[in-house]
Symmetry: C2
Amino acid sequence: MADDTAKGAPRPRTRIQQRNTEAILDAALEVFSAQGFRGATLDQIATEAGLSKPNLLYYFPSKEAIHIALLTSLLDDWLAPLREMTDSGDPQAEIMRYMRRKLDMSQTMPRESRLFANEILQGAPRMGAMLGTDLKALVDEKAALIRRWAEAGQIAPVDPHHLIFSIWALTQHYADFDVQVRAVLGPGHNPHAEAEIFLSTLFEKLLKP
Amino acid sequence: MADDTAKGAPRPRTRIQQRNTEAILDAALEVFSAQGFRGATLDQIATEAGLSKPNLLYYFPSKEAIHIALLTSLLDDWLAPLREMTDSGDPQAEIMRYMRRKLDMSQTMPRESRLFANEILQGAPRMGAMLGTDLKALVDEKAALIRRWAEAGQIAPVDPHHLIFSIWALTQHYADFDVQVRAVLGPGHNPHAEAEIFLSTLFEKLLKP
DNA sequence: CCTGCGTCTGACCGTGTGGTCAAACCGCCC
DNA sequence: GGGCGGTTTGACCACACGGTCAGACGCAGG
């Protein structure tokens, strides 16, 4: 990930390269997350980025390279909240904090959420490798942490992996299925505010020892 | 929905029409759910259905018509479990039963789940209308039912709409994000069996008055 | 002003894809 | 068998899309 030359974006040296690669990645995030990989078009991304299509391909060797660059660079941010869940504080508070940060992210970074959702839905053709290695390692580590909390009686005994899955499912639902949520609730609702209250009580009841 | 001629599939009159339209819809479900609308190809669907591409277009006027026919015909099945949740029995048992049926569906009908997920993710371009009318009406009705249960003290006081959302999110997660779940759990796991246990305790704790 | 390098683009290409159409095929009823 | 729906297909079209390339542009250093 430190070596950009391996695959994907050229190392941003000059000021202008920095600016354009950023513009491309942002535009690509916008388009890929809304249309999926195959649904997205280089022309769309180029227009969104304010560049010409050949100019895109001056900075990235292919459409797929842009997609891969996006996924890998975003995975870190995406998993940051989980990484920050440590045994430094009250276990239940740690988990609640993780859930809230994840919910916040689904509100502030819905495009990223949808990008990953699209990728996983299609069977993770461009990210499958990372799932079984990096992601699994991180989740296993945190699951072990949660298991220790449970064994110590600090939280209720729950399956750690599925607890994490439930946090993912519930928080990302409000980003990925936003249209549905809003359509069902109708006007005059604030989905995320309501979700925070609901999910707080849900996980409090679930985790109380 | 009773009048197929309005948009989409021709009315299946003869034996052969019945057989072929079914084959097409099944093949289309397979391909659309795995590749998304734009990712899917008429040739793929035709091959999967054992027909030629022009023959597809003899039965359906366009690619989009197939997609719409799929979505509308499946929405009924998809919402059936929610419809069957009535106040005929014990409230908590009714909700638990709904959750379990939904979880079973995510195991037995993962293609349908992914098809809807794809559609919603892309902003429901071909189903948006139904969300705010049919779906909203049904959910509002059942939400009112749940609210009555809560007010009668038969279940804990929870936001009915978000309770339903949480059931959707948690159960569909195991279908839509199957690759991720399996990659993280590793071999030797039965995601759905574990999910049923986890979700059972989760909703029991949540709903207990 | 010239050179040279990084940046950018118009024009182009090959392929994949949704869709059309005239003609052929098939099987049932007279 | 002949006719006649309904059914099937090969050949074809228009166009969108990913990607290429030769060259133009712009600007810093001499």
